[in-house]
Symmetry: C2
Subunit: 416 residues, 2 copies
Amino acid sequence: MIEYKNDFIWKADADITQAMENAFKKIVEEKENGVSGYFTLGSDSLPVMEDACSYAAANPYVKETDTIVVIGIGGSSLGTKAIDSIFKYQNKNVKKMIFLENPDEIDLSEKLSKIERDKTLFVVVSKSGSTIETISIFKEIIFKFSLDYADADKDHIMVITDRGSVLDQFAGAYGIKAYHIPANVGGRFSVLSAVGVVPLSIAGYDVKSILEGASATAERFFAQKENHIVKKAAFFTQYRESASINVLFSYATCLEDFTKWYVQLWGESLGKINACENHTGLTPIGHIGSVDQHSFLQLIMQGPRDKTVTFIKVYDFEKEMKVPDITLKFIEKTDYINGYSFNELIDGECEATKESIIKQGINVDSITLDSLSEKNIGSLIIYYELLTSLCGIMLHINTYDQPGVELGKEILQKKF
Amino acid sequence: MIEYKNDFIWKADADITQAMENAFKKIVEEKENGVSGYFTLGSDSLPVMEDACSYAAANPYVKETDTIVVIGIGGSSLGTKAIDSIFKYQNKNVKKMIFLENPDEIDLSEKLSKIERDKTLFVVVSKSGSTIETISIFKEIIFKFSLDYADADKDHIMVITDRGSVLDQFAGAYGIKAYHIPANVGGRFSVLSAVGVVPLSIAGYDVKSILEGASATAERFFAQKENHIVKKAAFFTQYRESASINVLFSYATCLEDFTKWYVQLWGESLGKINACENHTGLTPIGHIGSVDQHSFLQLIMQGPRDKTVTFIKVYDFEKEMKVPDITLKFIEKTDYINGYSFNELIDGECEATKESIIKQGINVDSITLDSLSEKNIGSLIIYYELLTSLCGIMLHINTYDQPGVELGKEILQKKF
């Protein structure tokens, strides 16, 4: 169960109500016309998941591995990593996942030094199939581990890419196992496609529940039972001139990579030149509570009034590690928290911070998960994707492209 | 060596030139009047470092530990963690550092499960001495490891706090080793005080070089040999209405925690209500290249023109892990990078991204380190602290307080 609540100080007038109705119609069209394919991944990816599980069970090499190394960057790794980070400490029986993203020598050497060649499945993820960072790191893997990808070691490798991409052709030429990303699913919307589903399933996560959570929420949304998402998009886009920054404040350390996924989704989808040739968009910032109360909160409270704040918290009554009932001489004033659970402390921090921000007249909304369950996380993923699409519609932009990053790629190639 | 360069599109008029001169005079006054004590920590902390090293060498328990657990949050941990993250993979002989920051059950349990009681020094860091998250986690440590802090296990513990704080009194009552933070050094400016110097020295890092780097840069600055810092502060504050966000794009994975330190320093110092009762400040965002080129770059390129971008890169010619000269069938178009080092690839990414952003007319500046040396990092820390003070002076605010976070603390206490 996820509860969504907002304390927005506004009222939708007739124009905005009309804009919300239009946006809903438009997103239905996007789904029906396949403008993006992410809407139905909750069900479309079930057979992909089943195939990955069967493959992992049937292939003697893959079955025996204890580590999955994902070689990918941006949309090819962020979502998968977010899910791994959320569940890895709760699922002690899953395979270890290592993400090779940045072509940074110190980071790369350190991670490579921890990899055991013959206990590892290397999963190369690239939608285009020729992402320079990813393919360069893949070459280093082949070199360092003397991988005979054409023959003896082909089971050590798997690729996830667009059908027909150069990486797909490479895999096809040597009989390397390949999974495909639907052509109309962009990187940052792809976590519930093969991109996330395949490595997470092979690692042993309950991907089925994640997909079911996503599916159920998408169905409820298209049956107009989640209209709060449309309202939130209307509010964010309507007030973007005065509040162009959205701070996502997650009160759980394991959600840090989820906030990075959100930053990519939001920033890359909504930062665009619109139909009228204006630069538009909403700037996403991710923070973790209560740590960043000791960092970013002062700026929210007293800095420029250009921010909205979204709180995510997990109110899990089953968590019961308690602050011990210990009194330390001279520090008795901290005893008011003794006997309460750490979960209650962090929940109190979240609520107190929220109240103090609301008192400044800053617009705030809350997302409360009753547990860090797979269903809730699947639901939260599709919630943010739908919210992003709706904001894009209301901003009159193409949510699904990223023309602004091409120039850098062209310049890079000329440098070598 | 650090090279600072900017491509700001502006020219300081007579008023701005005057404001820069005034700001320099004011920061000299701040130093001379002890408004903040961070300016001279490069030299002031040398005896603290020496004492910590002597203590660690002389105390049989501390000498034999292999892990330092820092219990602290915000300014009590961010800077220390940033330095540990930068150097830990380059210094294989240092003690392992674990940071207990967030009172989050999943995160805390996981970290506690990795701690060996009798090989660990627990360092409790809190300026006020009664930070609720820190003291609650400290109680959990006492409980879980049955620490007899009053007697047999007092060597397992150390505190770093303000002289006379409740935590200091607690330590004094039981003969627990305590180090003190200068009263006029706030949390976010405290990394070069006992807060960072003591645990990092005991861990075995070359803290002396970090302090020397900081000292040398501070001296050069006050001798007016680093006037580019004043100019940058003038530019950032002058253009804050049109560019209120500064994105720090660091091209090295190990600088991720450094960007978090910067976010606290910048956000908490500059997000203030000014003398005219206006909300002011500059919003800091940290990103890592090349990873976040695949995430946030699109927003910078095509989104609202409200950002400046600072690039940090490390151009270290000694790094020589090369992209192997391997041609993968069908993916030949990535071969242009074969034979170049990964450091050259990431440097090329940084330069290409910078050029593409400059072409949009966005203001950009660059900080280039010739290596990730201790001296350079000490210098970079004081650079950012001086820049922050100068921005605060030009914004007519108190850079060193944080009144906005008190309300949340009051509300929290009433909840229990």
